[in-house]
């Protein structure tokens, strides 16, 4: 049974960083377990961000963030191809409105050059408008290597790739205690699992400080800093040809409210920037929503509140308290006090971008204490389609429907998702059975009707095809039951 027993490597936290590490280590002959408190991978910060693959202009040369960002960015294309994940180097304009901000642009460009960011250009208004019509500003810094990816798809595919290469995932198990005995870490969970591992990796994100404290390491504290977003209807997707950010201001915790196009043609407005007390306080607020819609209207004049299809928030795992603000470098260390403990703290932005490079760095740290033997038969590629069925060429679609009629039946009309895709997503390799899990995998219920039409159809399908009892269905977490039983 997954969870009990001895592992070479135990990874705590199945966010994008934990999953990237798991996949990287799955190339070697190791017994690996990922422990995650949520019912699915990527349920925290990894699924709640802009989905931007940053270029690396924002971080001080020589810092881990600068190095891992630029390295990670360059790794994304190949990795996404292998994982069948859509990504696009869409490019970004950082726009200056006054002289002070222009100075910031030049400083960023210089910093980017020192960090090895490719292809940067400073653009006058007519050139920035040639890239993005309607954008207003005095000058812009263009970074062509900035990209977009769906962050939860990426995380899920990393996990699935790790899984088909032998990594075990223990979901819905919260680590409650860690002891060290005879060179082994002994880990217990709230469900009573007893796990031991030769190497322990802390990639617990917002809870990484809590994991540290279990080992008596109390030098770290995470300050959750919330960013709220609005998701816009797809009909605005074509307005954006590139990402558009304001020039950053010193001392702010984030990069400023901006519009981000997603790989699925929605637009995100956000994120805001507000420190909160609890690491699970994902509330959205009336004040911020009002602010975001105002910001959105500056670039999309026709924007109405009815064009918003959903709001959400994410939390940045910051190491700096509100009174300090700004950024602190990632902590990625093999501890002196626990030589087999690899500790990752404060992996906030650009954590998604850096994740592939972080994984390689962590692998090298693991190699310092375990002998890494390459695994013959490592499966680099995941099977399946790149993108959704409706995005495939017409000929392939015909071919696929002739092979499986379920490709011909559209379940989610807003996003054009077929019955076959819903069935595949429900039978996912990690065994996730939540409705959110289905959403994140098959993109059902993510369109403008937000499940108004397809939720009942999906429930019907799950009952018929898999014998699911409605009252057993969970939305996203334990206790998030969708239904209370039969009517009569």
């Amino acid at each position: 049974m997954t969870g009990n027993g001895q592992y070479d490597v135990v990874i705590v936290g199945a966010g994008v960083v934990g999953c990237a590490i798991a996949r990287e280590l799955s190339k070697y002959q190791l017994r690996i377990l990922v422990v995650e408190k949520e019912l699915d991978v990527g349920m925290g910060t990894s699924s709640r961000n802009s989905g931007v693959i940053h270029s690396g202009i924002h971080y001080a040369p020589g810092s881990l963030r600068a190095r891992l960002n630029v390295q990670g960015n360059a790794m994304f294309e190949r990795l996404c191809r292998a994982l069948k994940v859509k990504m696009n180097y869409i490019g970004k304009l950082t726009v200056a409105q006054d002289d002070e901000e222009i100075e910031t642009l030049y400083r960023l460009k210089e910093q980017g050059e020192a960090n090895g960011v490719p292809g940067m250009e400073i653009l006058p208004p007519h050139k920035m408008q040639a890239i993005q019509p309607g954008v207003q500003g005095k000058l812009a810094l263009y970074t062509p290597s900035t990209g977009i990816v769906c962050p939860y798809t990426f995380t899920i595919r990393l996990a699935e790739s790790a899984h088909i290469n032998g990594v075990e995932f223990l979901l819905a198990a919260k680590v409650t205690g860690i002891t060290v005995n005879k060179g082994l870490f002994h880990i217990t969970t709230h469900k009573g699992h007893k796990i031991s591992g030769r190497v322990l990796i802390n990639s617990a994100g917002l809870y990484s400080d809590a994991i540290c404290r279990m080992l008596g390491i109390d030098e770290y504290k995470i300050y959750p800093c919330r960013g709220e977003y609005l998701i816009l209807d797809k009909r605005f997707g074509h307005y954006l040809n590139a990402l558009v950010y304001p020039a950053p201001h010193h001392g702010k915790a984030g990069l400023g409210i901006h519009l981000t196009k997603t790989v699925d043609e929605n637009i995100l407005i956000g994120p805001s920037n507000e420190y909160v007390e609890e690491a699970d306080d994902y509330r959205t607020t009336r004040e911020i929503m009002g602010l975001l819609i105002e910001e959105g209207r500056r670039l999309l004049p026709g924007l109405a509140t009815s064009d918003v299809i959903r709001s959400f928030s994410g939390l940045r795992a910051k190491q700096t308290p509100p009174q300090v603000g700004g950024f602190k470098d990632f902590v990625i260390e093999r501890r002196r006090d626990y030589p087999n403990f690899i500790n990752l703290v404060g992996i906030e932005s650009p954590g998604l971008t850096s994740s592939p490079a972080i994984a390689v760095m962590v692998r090298d740290l693991v190699a310092e204490v375990l002998f890494l033997n390459e695994k013959p038969g490592f499966k680099e590629e995941l099977p399946g389609l790149l993108g959704y069925f409706h995005e495939q060429p017409q000929e392939l679609k015909r071919e696929l429907i002739s092979q499986d009629k379920d490709y011909g039946e559209v379940i989610c009309r807003c996003e054009g998702i077929t019955k076959k895709e819903v069935m595949d997503a429900f039978q996912n390799p990690l065994g996730v059975r939540t409705l959110a899990g289905l959403k994140y995998r098959a993109r059902v219920m993510m369109g403008r009707c937000q499940g108004g039409f397809c939720l009942p159809r999906i429930v019907e399908l799950l009952r018929r095809e898999f014998g699911i009892k409605p009252q057993e269905l969970l939305l996203h977490s334990e206790g998030s039951y969708l239904f209370t039983g039969n009517v009569r």
């Binding site: 609005l230 998701i231 009909r235 699970d280 994902y282 509330r283 959205t284 607020t285 009336r286 929503m289 819609i293 509140t305 009815s306 064009d307 918003v308 299809i309 959903r310 709001s311 959400f312 409706h390 017409q394 679609k397 015909r398 429907i401 002739s402 009629k405 379920d406 011909g408 039946e409 559209v410 009309r413 807003c414 054009g416 403008r448 009707c449 937000q450 499940g451 108004g452 039409f453 939720l455 009942p456 429930v459 019907e460 009952r463 409605p470 969970l474 939305l475 996203h476 977490s477 334990e478 206790g479 998030s480 039951y481 969708l482 239904f483 209370t484 039983g485 039969n486 009517v487 009569r488």
Partner: protein, 418 residues
């Protein structure tokens, strides 16, 4: 021109709900030979199938039917007259040359039509569209989704519910939940008047002692996993919450009944011009949209309150589509624009040819008593004037207009007046 691997039909009707059914039947009866009705679901009838309450058909059949009964009569008729039906088939694209691309279990299919009738209906406004702050727990449904789960799938959504908005489906569901043992704490309507029909206020709320809180709305959701309550507050004239009036209402379920939006993504992508107020296509008195050969009727054209009116409108649209498909030419003449004026939110059609009688449909902006609806021409002359004891935004007004009155008319204005 029909290309290889393509089928040809006289009239293709998109959507097999009440509008599509009536349009397909009348197109067939008006002489179109090959009429194809395309439905996404695995059965015809659309949203009527989940409307198990009665009150349908009072105008059309002069009797009170349930939704499925009402649909059934049309489904039988469609079968009798020989409408060709494709179920579990979705239109993926519609092109200006009247070609549509279909996806079904049989594969992808291209259909060349001589006329197309859009009858896709509407969808419910969501939590996102009204930007409801707070947490994202389970237990939040649009009223229509809950209606489907309860009535068609025997699934109970919760034990204690708040209903946000007083649209008709929300009112119907307040009664339905109460009947099935779910406590309905209250209906909270942001406007100072109800959004649903007066008869539903009476029969679904008053008769069951369910409180209706006007000028009140839900302003925050609570609960991490399952909904555990909502904050409600009174709102001012600008619909903004009034500080100090917030109160917590415990519930495990929130149903949203905050408006319906005509489902025009397909129309928009084909280039059909939409009316920003009605949310549906701009049409003339034959229900033809801005694109030749493409007609529109039912809730995709504008949201109706009674299905009987949908059927009547669709019957006309289907007939005009058939006439075009069978080659009947209409004398070319300039359209007369119809404009909503004082007190009128929108009116339909937005333009008329003057070549035939038509039904003017409209909604008023706010409830008023003892007023007239007046239709004037460019000189201010009253062509139509009708007195109403009560005008309410929830109740669609329909006024037949005779073609003979339009002889020298250049423009029509519709207004509410003394």
């Amino acid at each position: 021109m029909v290309s290889k691997g393509e089928i040809e039909r006289d009239v293709v009707v998109i959507g097999g709900g009440p509008a599509g059914l009536a349009a397909a039947i009348s197109a067939k009866e008006a002489g179109a030979k090959k009429v194809l009705l395309v439905e996404r679901d695995k059965r015809l009838g659309g949203i009527l199938n989940q409307c198990i309450h009665d009150g349908f058909g009072l105008h059309w059949f002069k009797e009170a039917l349930s939704g499925p009964e009402y649909a059934h009569r049309f489904i039988e008729k469609a079968d009798q007259v020989g409408v060709e039906v494709m179920l579990s088939s979705m239109v993926m694209a519609m092109e200006p040359d009247l070609r549509i691309q279909l996806s079904s279990k049989e594969g992808l299919l291209s259909v060349k039509a001589k006329a197309i009738v859009l009858a896709m209906g509407c969808r419910e406004r969501t939590q996102g569209a009204i930007m409801l702050p707070g947490t994202r727990p389970a237990g939040i449904y649009t009223a229509g989704a809950a209606q489907n789960l309860i009535n068609l799938q025997n699934i109970m959504v919760g034990k204690k519910a708040v209903i946000m908005g007083s649209g008709d489906i929300g009112l119907i569901m307040a009664r339905r939940l109460t009947l099935e043992g779910c406590e309905v704490v209250g209906v909270y309507e942001i406007l100072p008047y109800p959004s649903g029909l007066p008869r539903n206020i009476q029969q679904c709320l008053v008769d069951y002692a369910i409180p209706l809180h006007l000028s009140n709305t839900v302003i925050e959701l609570h609960g991490q996993n399952r909904l555990r309550g909502v904050t409600v507050a009174q709102v001012d004239e600008m619909r903004q919450p009034i500080k100090g009036t917030e109160r917590f209402v415990e519930c495990d379920t929130l149903l949203l009944s905050v408006g319906l939006i005509p489902e025009n993504e397909l129309s928009r992508s084909a280039g059909v011009v939409l009316d920003p107020v009605s949310g549906g296509p701009v049409v003339d008195d034959t229900y033809q949209t801005s694109m030749e050969g493409i007609f529109s009727c039912g809730n995709v054209l504008h949201v109706h309150d009674l299905v009987d009116h949908v059927s009547e409108e669709a019957e006309r649209a289907g007939r005009f589509a058939a006439r075009l498909a069978t080659g009947e030419q209409r004398p070319a003449r300039e359209f007369i624009p119809i404009r909503p004026a004082n007190g009128v939110r929108y009116c339909l059609p937005q333009r008329v040819s003057g070549g035939g009688d038509f039904i003017l449909s409209l909604r008023v902006i706010s409830p008023v008593r003892d007023k007239r609806i007046v239709v004037r021409d460019q000189t201010g002359k009253r062509l139509v004037s009708k007195t109403y004891f009560r005008l309410h935004p929830a109740v669609m007004i329909r006024i037949p207009v005779k073609a003979e009155k339009l002889a020298k008319v250049k423009v029509l204005e519709v207004e509410v007046t003394e």
